[in-house]
């Protein structure tokens, strides 16, 4: 059952990401990116990472995709469709690069399969405190990773100030 669900959502992931890249209309590719994020969240759920799955759906499929769709609707889509050309000159170069890259990744992954790494070193119980993945993540986030967490808030502040500066009209 787990295998079946994994293959279903992996298939959905790959198909929807291909749709993101190869569809002409930006709105359609944004919608298929939402499908991709949801199926990715499902894969996280299969991997017992409930908090990450929740964040995936809330942050990516909720906030980021709304922002994308808003920007697509704010800008003129028809204008861009005419200029949409493919990178035909370097097509074979790029494709061969991608094939080499994929080959390297797959060979590394299969060599990992042959080594004993996939057995699980510490076991699963460390990932859950009181049957809750979220509680365990909260505990580690506010103890071991407290300083990066605070620096993250600084990063968000910088992003907010940057968006105000960038979004301001130049006429003042």
């Amino acid at each position: 059952m787990e295998m079946f669900l994994f293959f279903f959502f992996a298939f959905l992931c790959v198909i929807s990401s291909l749709c993101v890249v190869f569809l002409k209309n930006p709105i359609k590719s944004a919608i298929s990116l939402i499908v991709n994020f949801f199926s990715m969240g499902a894969i996280y759920l299969i991997l017992n990472a409930e908090f990450i799955a929740l964040m995936q759906v809330l942050v990516y499929a909720g906030a980021i995709m709304v922002l994308f769709l808003f920007i697509i609707m704010l800008l003129d889509v028809k204008h861009t469709l005419k200029e949409e050309i493919f990178f035909k000159n370097n097509l074979y170069l790029v494709l061969s690069f991608c094939i080499v890259f994929l080959t390297i990744i797959i060979s590394v992954a299969t060599s990992l399969y042959n080594s004993g790494l996939m057995a699980g070193l510490k076991g699963l119980d460390w990932m859950f405190i009181d049957n809750s993945n979220t509680k365990a993540i909260g505990r580690i986030l506010f103890s071991k990773y407290l300083l990066p967490f605070e620096i993250t808030s600084l990063l968000l502040l910088v992003a907010a100030i940057g968006i105000i500066v960038l979004g301001k009209k130049k006429n003042t």
């Binding site: 787990e2 790959v14 990401s17 993101v20 890249v21 930006p26 590719s29 944004a30 991709n36 994020f37 990715m40 894969i43 996280y44 991997l47 990472a49 908090f51 995936q56 942050v59 990516y60 980021i64 922002l67 994308f68 920007i71 704010l74 800008l75 204008h79 861009t80 200029e83 949409e84 050309i85 493919f86 990178f87 370097n90 690069f97 991608c98 890259f101 994929l102 990744i105 590394v108 992954a109 990992l112 399969y113 996939m118 699980g120 510490k122 076991g123 119980d125 460390w126 990932m127 993945n133 993540i137 580690i140 990066p148 993250t152 968000l156 992003a159 940057g162 968006i163 960038l166 979004g167």
Partner: protein
Amino acid sequence: MIPLSYLLILSGLLFTIGIIGVLFKRNTIIIFMSIELMLNSANLSFVAFSRYLGNLNGQVYVFFVMVVAAAEVVIGLAIIVNMYRHFKSISADRANLLKW
């Protein structure tokens, strides 16, 4: 339990599709979506290793990657809007001057 290599192969496939999107497409918004795909595939391999090593650090990293991705998307889309105001187009070919 799903083998780790399946997850890594899925992550590599998604990353490669993201690279193809960045290299092929001229629409800046699609390029941004492909960057999101690549970030997601990296997140997937983080979570996969976190699951198989029984270690929570990978999931915390995924949390940070998500925060950075959100900030990056906001700034990048603001740059795209400014580019549209300047060039009246969002094609990446138009942004070929290094000075504004």
